[in-house]
Symmetry: C2
């Protein structure tokens, strides 16, 4: 067999992984990376932190350069080379060399498309103004960084509140720039359910990042030399700098024009082995559609770790191997100032949309033993199927230890665990690291209590709806101590401390629906059990208690 020639279109995460893996599979193969931009294999996810100086040197962002790739892997890299078209019959790609201003046909035996994704540019007046930036590539960051140094902007507007938006905004605030973040929806970080996002928004506000939700940008304009972002609701926000971060879209034009199958999500359709509909073309990274392992449905999950794995599989499979990737569970983590915010699997909203009957619970607890110094509280939301008990997703907002719990839950999701079986995990416990009853274990116990009927939760969102309704045909019962109650109650609550409940049962009407709450849910659960055994059969517990209550409390 003649030696295989592999051409890789795009050389950042997936492309570089594909090249390195292909070389490890074959010393014989000829491997060429064609990269449109000036750089390959850089630390995309680190870019926002370079803006503030948390990552102090630009060099730190460059993983490897073309000479390294040649020397280490015997892979030829051509930057500034854009692939314009694929001729699948001739098995060539048309390449545009921008520097030398020429085009040529490059033959391939196997083609790997790692064309990535691009920021969505909203169709707004003013997006072309010189103080408007995107923040996706190293080139974007270079431009933005130069602007920061040269113009010392005092006010910024970030349009969009996803990962790139929020990380960029945080690092602008760290530079002392007064920053406003505009979100189309009613919340930041749309992968979160609203009540979790609400806590993130409050933290942003406290840290000097001003979230403006439910706002659509109408236009960006320059007004007497000053930038202004106008919203459809009529707000005009001054901005020396605007960052567009409304999302990314897979780069599939090349694939589409070549007639490759595009999935319903808009990403290139590939099988488990990263093979496209053409047997000689593979694809990986942000440009492909993957499978959401919870729903089994196609999904766009443009994440760095998946790009590396996909590139590795594509590189091997281009040489006849058979590495397979089953998909992803949609895990996301982001630092938001002092908070860590993470999710895996489905949100409550997504679970409902996917046709599940979701059972939702909250756990609020410190990240390690409360008696060991430095314990910091976190809030975990667990979404499970009320029918099968299967874990469907989780969201966590906290400080320390959020990454640990989300990774354990991602592993549980991969293994299609039932939520109640989380209690069986033998998680590592010593006081500096966790609690004897870790949050994940407690989540398992709650799910078990739910299944056997010991407990029915109500979410804060649902309780607020019930409270807002005209006909409040239920008792809201606060079972905390008198001292806790002084710090604020949920409007309309009656107060009987759990330790007096057995003696004061006569004050409550067992025929009336009763919704119980405490600070995190443990005492409310006990109260619920006491009431259930005394003839109260319409009982709900506010999951997560006042600690997970995202709304205001009232003076008692």
């Amino acid at each position: 067999m003649a030696k295989t020639k592999i051409v890789i279109v795009g050389g950042v995460a997936a492309g570089a992984s594909a090249a390195a893996k292909a070389r490890r599979c074959s010393e014989e193969a000829e491997i060429l990376i064609l990269e449109k931009g000036p750089f390959i294999s850089y630390a995309n996810c680190g870019l926002p932190y370079y803006l503030s100086g948390i990552i102090p040197k630009r060099d730190h962002l460059i993983v490897v350069d073309p000479p390294f790739f040649k020397q280490r892997f015997n892979v030829e890299v051509k930057t500034g080379h854009e692939v314009l078209a694929i001729d699948r019959v001739a098995k060539t790609v048309t390449v545009r060399d921008a520097v030398r201003d020429r085009s040529f046909a490059e033959p391939y035996d196997k083609l790997i498309l790692t064309t990535g994704s691009s920021p969505v540019i909203p169709p707004l007046a003013g997006v072309e103004l010189p103080f408007v930036f995107t923040a996706k590539t190293l080139s974007d960051t270079d431009r933005l960084f130069r602007f920061l140094l040269e113009r010392s902007p005092r006010r910024a507007v970030v349009i969009g509140s996803g990962l790139i938006g929020i990380e960029t905004a945080e690092n602008l605030v760290a530079r002392g720039i007064e920053t406003t973040m505009i979100a189309r929806r009613g919340q930041l970080l749309s992968f979160l359910d609203p009540e979790m996002a609400e806590q993130v928004a409050r933290h942003c506000e406290a840290k000097g990042l001003h979230p403006l939700v439910n706002e659509r940008v109408a236009a960006i304009r320059q007004d007497n030399g000053r930038g202004v972002v106008e919203t459809e609701s009529g707000k005009a926000i001054e901005a020396d700098l605007v960052v567009l971060a409304v999302g990314v879209r897979p780069n599939v034009t090349l694939a589409k024009e070549a007639g490759l199958t595009i999935g319903i999500t808009g990403g290139i359709k590939v099988d488990e082995g990263m093979r496209t509909s053409d047997p000689d073309i593979l694809a990986a990274g942000d440009c492909v559609e993957t499978v959401h392992l919870v729903t089994g449905a196609p999904a766009l999950l443009p994440m760095a770790a998946a790009a590396n794995k996909g590139g590795r599989a594509a590189g091997a499979n281009a040489l006849g191997r058979d590495l397979r990737l089953p998909g992803a569970t949609g895990t996301v983590i982001v630092k938001v100032f002092d908070l860590t915010v993470a999710t895996t699997g489905l949100s409550e909203r997504q679970a409902a949309e996917a046709g599940y009957n979701p059972f939702v619970s909250y756990v609020v607890a410190p990240h390690h033993a409360g008696y060991y110094p430095g314990a910091q509280s976190m809030q975990m939301k667990i979404i499970a199927s009320a029918n099968s008990g299967r874990l469907l997703g989780a969201q966590i907002v906290g400080r320390e230890g959020v990454d640990k719990r989300i990774d354990v839950l991602a592993c549980a999701l991969y293994n299609r665990m039932r939520a109640e079986d989380l209690i069986h995990l033998d998680l590592a416990y010593a006081p500096p690291f966790s609690s004897a009853r870790d949050l994940v274990i407690v989540a398992g116990a709650l799910a078990q209590n739910y299944r056997v009927g010991d407990w029915r939760p109500i979410t804060p969102v649902a309780l607020r709806e019930r409270l807002a309704a005209q006909n409040q045909n239920f008792t809201l019962l606060d079972v905390r101590t008198p001292i806790e109650v002084k710090s604020g109650v949920i409007a309309g609550a009656r107060h009987i401390p759990v330790d007096q409940l057995r003696e004061r049962l006569g004050e409550l009407d067992p025929t009336r629906e009763t919704i119980v709450y405490c600070r995190v849910g443990l005492r409310a659960y006990l109260a619920n059990r006491i009431l259930a055994q005394h003839g109260f059969d319409k009982l709900l517990t506010l999951s997560g208690g006042t600690a997970a209550w995202p709304y205001e409390l009232e003076r008692p």
Copy 2:
């Protein structure tokens, strides 16, 4: 049905959990805790940190007290009440009330044994001396703490190097006490394989805790008013204070004398529902034998989290519920000064003993993106079955983020994952939390590379044995850069940097077995692949490279 009377023997972790759960299951039941000691429900695992003041107040260690239990749970607690015997026919226990100096028979419908474990007191001369302590219970800690305050000991010897030994020793060192730790085996922390323990020992020494391995204590004596610990090898170590921490043993005398089945490990035999061989007696916590979920064999795993879960199940099942616990995977974590040391599943030694053909790999990598400030390296050892690929166990020594990876691996073990499928986990990545290729993902990739035959590892222990043999019929090849080589090499290595390997293949003999190493293993793997494709077919890679090499390096 008359109300059920539940008597619980022992009120610390499992006992308190059992009582609380039983009450949540039934408001009707009569629940009595009989606790031999003066305290219930205290934070056993926090005790060592009280010795140094890291946990500043003794109150922080007390979870709840008897009046609280009465008020909150309507559970009667009798401390200072030792159960001396069980009459299974009459369904009574004989109770000794030490304070009132009387004994009485207490009837039960359901009995729950949560008698815990006790420190093993080695049969040594001198263990009764007044400066010799154990460190298991709050009472032990109170005695030891008083001694520390009153006598200000300057030198301590801790006999034993398990969890309690090492945590106690660390906190003595934190008080400025010159501390020696004596281990019978050739290493500290016997749950680790020796090469991992070696790194812990070095760290201890650097922090001022002196480990003395392969030493058996012959006697403890007092010599002109000074304590001395004598070893069988003839050493005499001065000690103002001696702590015995050679292990714990389940307290099963009561169960044994009552004729309950004791398992082969010496713990009380229980089913998944914590039921003993007597249908009216349940047991939970340190006193019971559990199932090791990797081997399926009975095991003693006396851990706090398991005690809480077991107590909960026993409390429910005493009232006719059917909660089941499948067992545990043997997860352990311990802070050792600045290190975090953790394991789950089987060690390499245990895997071999259990009849597996273990495949071992090491991953050395930073806990989060290397370019993000504060990255700290950790070393992960993965043990898998070479035959089935199943993950069998893991050990990690590092600083930050060790707890996260061990918990993910514990979840993977629970789900009986193959090691190579770890690559499929969708772990949370952002630069402050992990790497795009997290250690767990890399471990999966290594296992996959092993399965397809791209790579054969050799462990540091095995390589050292090979190097010590008379007949060194192999080439040891160092593929690091010249600068790295200057900092030390493994004795006998030839040096060809990986980036020159393709040109310098002629310098090596392809018929000779070749063992390749670099700093962590990645370049050695590439070198291995280059050599394999050029006719070298006896190839091994030193897993973990020099970073995981626990022995001295030589000047090149």
